[in-house]
């Protein structure tokens, strides 16, 4: 199977999929794109409705046998399910349900929060410094109106105080979830190492600098972060970074829940 992975710096969803690729042992051509400059929407890679309307925001695109695919958790499932022996997901139905439910909590709550805080800290000034012509040319091909609106808000520095404090609370809640799972001394969130570890790590790894209060006293979480970082798949993904601190590279992510 011929695969090309268009990925950003190893942080957030790009980190999940890069590490999942290396964990599952698939061969793929790797193409680094600058997600912070909206390159995912350029002519340099193929598009379809699933990449254009992905509610993950600016995540990686995996092209497998000509079909562009998006959304990091489901890409990781795809890589797992097309590998032998299900290396990063349980085969038992209940354990799989636990993993999918855990990931849903992360992608619906922690991911939008991390992306909101991440772009405020590390992307807003960069976008503000661009000329209007350059910025408009960059976002013009974005098909999703709500994603484009998030790009505009970031450039204009429109960050809502309520959303900032809600995002901080959600990062703290995610750390508490991790800490609670590790309380019985296990190494990985759901017992065996899985996509749940990768996805959670990918969104939380960059939050230590931005929201250190969320990690105060979370000793087990700290150990778990270090264990994941030391995995060959993750260190290989991190070694692909072109910037000295990839955990500080953020592009617009999923939107914060607008309804319940």
């Amino acid at each position: 199977m011929a695969m090309v992975l268009y990925h950003g710096e190893p942080n957030g969803p790009s980190l999940t999929v890069l590490a999942a690729l290396f964990e599952t042992g698939h061969d793929a051509e790797l193409q680094l794109i600058d997600l912070t400059m909206a390159e995912r929407h350029s002519d340099g890679l193929p598009h379809n409705v699933e990449t254009q309307m992905s509610i993950e925001g600016e995540g990686p695109v995996l092209v497998a046998d000509g079909e562009p695919m998006a959304d990091s958790v489901f890409l990781a499932c795809y890589l797992n399910d097309s590998a032998e022996n299900s290396p990063i997901a349980p085969t038992d139905a209940f354990a799989r349900w636990e993993m999918m439910t855990w990931c849903r909590q992360i992608i619906e709550r922690a991911a939008p929060a991390a992306a909101y805080l991440g772009v405020k800290a590390h992307l807003s000034d960069k976008l503000s410094s661009l000329s209007e012509a350059v910025f408009q040319k960059m976002v013009e091909p974005i098909k999703s109106e709500d994603l484009k609106a998030r790009w505009n808000d970031i450039r204009e520095g429109n960050f809502d105080e309520e959303k900032i404090s809600d995002s901080k609370a959600k990062i703290k809640a995610a750390v508490e979830m991790v800490e609670a799972k590790l309380r019985d001394g296990r190494d990985w969130l759901l017992g065996e190492f899985s996509i749940a570890d990768l996805e959670t790590y990918a969104w939380l790894a960059g939050m230590g600098d931005i929201e250190p209060a969320a990690f105060e006293g979370a000793i087990r979480t700290e150990g778990w972060l270090n264990r994941i970082k030391a995995r060959p798949s993750v260190s290989r993904a991190l070694s692909l970074a072109k910037t000295p601190a990839p955990q500080q590279v953020w592009a617009p992510g999923p939107e914060i829940n607008r309804w319940g």
Binding site: V49, D65, A93, F94, R96, R258, G260
Partner: protein, 258 residues
Amino acid sequence: MSDVTLYHWEPNANSGKPMLALMEKGVEFESHYLDLLNFDQHQPEYLAINPQGTIPAMVHRNPKLGDRVLTESTAIMEYVDAAFPGPKLMPDDPKDQWRIRWWMKFMDQWLAPSFSMIGWSVFVGPMVRSKDPEVLKAAIDRIPLPERRVAWRKAIYGTFGEKEMKESQRRVALGIHMLEEELSKREWLASEQYSLADVNGFNIAYALPLSQPELSNDEKTPHILKWLRKIYERPATKKTWAMGKTDMVKRVKLLERS
């Protein structure tokens, strides 16, 4: 006694997803109906099953492993498909599975909330607003998830903003367009076989001809209407919708061919 108990409301949206999946698989289940409009889901008896107070929840009793409590309607459907024999609702091809998951997430997290916001403002809010204000306030205070408290307050007190309602209308129109495009490519939503994506999609879209007649009708969205009618005619769908207790689910009758 069945090994499975499903706590659900009407066969509609999130409740209807595992109901229909269980029916399609031929899994017998004990039905435990919760009246969403009477806030049954926030009563202590149900919070003991699902502390988040969201519907549906499923209990699968296993003699060796004990009772397993499952929440999150889409994840429950995947469990039902994998854990029980019966027709497969996920194709074997991992890429089809990816596409099905993508569309379910898109519907769960982007399209359905917009349908829901409109539905709650015109249906759920007015239905419960007639209750005693003190009873309503106490009911809201009992809701465990803060975001659900906000949602209920908006519905009950009718405080949806013009901008957010307009955005929901935009998303509903675009979502309908996207579904029509997708269903013009193949018979089913995300793969060549009937799958969980269709079960999911039917639950949010079955009332479209009534709720969005200008946007979805035989002229404008022939593929959506054909798809809805095909799903409605499945025996499992008929059995599931027969479990409804309110007039709300009678909207499905619009899909009967004349």
